[in-house]
Amino acid sequence: MFDKLKSGLASLKAGLARTHNAIMGGVDAAFTGASREGILEKLEESLILADVGVGASGEIVDKLRGVFGGKDPERLKQLLRDSVYEILKDVERPLEAGPSPFVIMAIGINGVGKTTTIGKLAGRYSGEGKAVLMAAADTFRAAAIEQLELWGERVGCPVIRQTQGGDPGAVAFDAVRAAVSRKTDVLILDTAGRLHTKVNLMEELKKVKKVVGRELTGAPHEILLVLDASTGQNALNQARLFNEAVGVTGIALTKLDGTAKGGIIIAVANELKIPIRFVGIGEGVGDLKDFNARDFTDALI
């Protein structure tokens, strides 16, 4: 158990090391004879390059500008770390599966990693000895149902499904009923990827949520927005609009195993204060970790 945790941390750090290098590469270079203002500018540039965004980067650096008097690189690093941690610590709230059946609904734009994240989650919960059920409420994309079923086989979890082109609300309805009657601990709903700007598709999502709530009071207990770490400033719009439509209760940030920095999550945390639950660091079942603000920050800076 401890070993697993450790190796998980190691791979998270390896992934973030690239981010770290990008930022610190910038910072270190900045210290060679630069003026204080030069250092701060370089710092801002590094944050922007990590997709933190012009606004949030500016704010973070302005804050440093206020408290940092000298040119001591170590102190600067620590302060930058603290500023980022300050924003992220409030959103470090791991997901705790409550009373059964605990219903999780994964949402997000196309291709961000919803189905994969669900598969990983199912693997994790059944590993903990919980009875898990998945539901293929993506009835739109070709072979989305089969993709989830294959994940079901991989992690040994049943999948509730209907046919492609069917009504996602009906799948959700069936799934909640099945979860209740089978005494399932965790029910995870996959939904079709949709752009947050498509009004009719967002309406459909609202409907699915409503159906779930009608069948089981308090459900869905977690509406998990999946964001792709390689996404730039648009992730903020995604978070805003999905949140307005169905109320996001948690975020999973995927694909942190590449070179993308995922810095936009800082802007999202800053503005929306939605808990960041998980980070995805690969395509395997084990490649989903709880978000840890200290690790994230330490690896980032």
Binding site: V54, G111, A142, Q147, L195, G232
Partner: protein, 450 residues
């Protein structure tokens, strides 16, 4: 609120007029706005720097024209430079060899599989005989996904189980080799190969891609990237290019609200042309890349060109002149508004039209505007219930007049209030168009801007 980049330029450049030429000092602030706009659009930091330097060179020493406002002039310089950099090379598909092979590569979830089907359909429409090859054996159900799409668009798809030669296929390389043989026998002239998503830093998987390239000898290796990609676009595009030598880029999910700055980042860092943009989930949602339009989008100046083209078909020259006169005199009434609505309805859905207008997305966000298609019908009914005087001079609409109109049109007083507000907003928007010159409403109504 409704502050497009051209508004900002106008503001920061308003004092230039009469200063003779654009100089280092008088465009400093405008360049800052360019920088900010590009960064917010996700153009890579390094690319932004280069771009600003290039724009400066273009702008410096230019005479400040008396005919154009300096804001418009600068907008044009920035827009044109951006369009030039985005465009350039010929974006046609290179289909050499028999069969010609197109290979799609990219990160996980960028849209390769969907795009494979889109290209196949496009080529079929162009009279070719394409063959789809699913070489992503890694992602669960990826092959099945492509098979389903292929059968929807009625294009043949390689089937590793039912392949006619009965070969024992274990990996993507086996699929590709087999598909080539099948193609030779059946006579497909084009292969479109989908590959598994991967990170460019994954040496093993990039090695696999190189191997596939060896086998397939593709005349096109297209890098499929998400239009929402952030700063990392430069790294990934360069990484894939270095490993397999991409021949072009396809930007997906362009139907969203991402400004698409990654287009510029990838274009400039690889020098490879952007060939297509994906604009929807259906297999026919593939469009040729238009540099000028995307430039407008990156700068958040709206897709004015598209609107111009569409509008040409609906508004005739004489009416346009009429309307223009009214706008000039600021005597644009609700009557005219109604007429415009009737015409606009012919252009497409309200949402799609408005989203092409500069600053509309910002306006929509700020004012929480929901575009309701039924609203047009309501608006027409309301205006129909107004007297001539009310239509020409909406400022006379007091409470009792409003409640009478509501009754007459079967709507609520709030609807009337909303309409009057919208009308006022629209007049403001018209003014923006008017002052933004060639690319503004004037150009739109008269046809293609010069």
């Amino acid at each position: 609120m409704l502050e497009s980049l051209s508004d900002k330029f106008r503001k920061v450049l308003k004092d230039i007029r009469g200063q003779g030429a654009i100089s280092e000092s008088n465009i400093q602030d405008a360049l800052k706005e360019v920088r900010l706009a590009l960064l917010e659009a996700d153009v890579n930091f390094g690319v932004v720097k280069d771009f600003c330097a290039a724009v400066k060179v273009k702008a410096l020493g230019k005479e400040v024209m008396e005919s154009l406002s300096p804001g418009v002039q600068f907008t044009k310089i920035v827009h044109d430079e951006l369009a030039t950099l985005l465009g350039g090379a010929d974006a046609a598909l290179e289909l050499k060899g028999r069969p010609a092979v197109i290979m799609l590569v990219g990160l996980q979830g960028s849209g390769k599989t969907t795009t494979t089907a889109k290209i196949a359909l496009e080529l079929k429409k162009r009279g070719r005989n394409p063959y789809i090859v699913p070489a992503d054996m890694f992602r669960l159900a990826a092959t099945l996904q492509l098979k389903k799409l292929a059968s929807e668009i009625k294009v043949d798809c390689f089937d590793e189980e039912g392949n006619s030669l009965g070969a024992d296929i274990k990996d993507p390389a086996g699929i590709c080799a087999e598909a080539l043989r099948v193609a030779a026998i059946i006579g497909y002239d084009t292969l479109i190969v989908d590959t598994a998503g991967r990170h460019h830093v994954d040496a093993e998987l990039m090695g696999e891609l190189k191997n596939l390239k060896e086998i397939l000898k593709p005349s096109e290796i297209l890098f499929v990237a998400d239009a929402m990609t952030g700063q990392d676009a430069v790294n990934t595009a360069k990484g894939f290019d270095a490993a397999v030598g991409i021949t072009g880029v396809i930007l997906t999910k362009f139907d969203g609200d991402a400004r698409g700055g990654a287009a510029l980042s990838m274009r400039l860092s690889t020098g490879k042309p952007i060939k297509f943009v994906g604009t929807g989930e259906k297999s026919d949602a593939l469009e040729v890349f238009h540099p000028a339009r995307v430039a407008g989008r990156i700068l958040d100046m709206g897709d004015v060109l598209t609107l111009v083209e569409k509008a040409q078909g609906v508004f005739d020259e004489k009416e346009a002149k009429e309307l223009q006169k009214k706008l000039k005199k600021d005597s644009f009434t609700l009557e005219d508004f109604k007429e415009q609505i009737t015409k606009i309805k012919k252009l497409g859905s309200m949402e799609s039209i408005l989203s092409m207008m500069p600053g509309f997305d910002a306006l929509k966000k700020a004012k929480d505007i929901q575009v309701d298609e039924k609203e047009l019908v309501r608006v027409e009914a309301i205006i129909n219930s107004m007297t001539k005087k009310e239509r020409t001079d909406p400022s006379c609409l007091n409470a009792s007049r409003r409640s009478r109109i509501a009754k007459g049109s079967g709507t609520k007083v709030q609807d009337i209030n909303k309409l009057v507000n919208q009308y006022q907003d629209m007049r403001k928007m018209m003014k923006v168009f008017k002052t933004s010159g060639a690319k503004g409403l004037k150009g739109m109504m008269q046809g293609r801007p010069r």
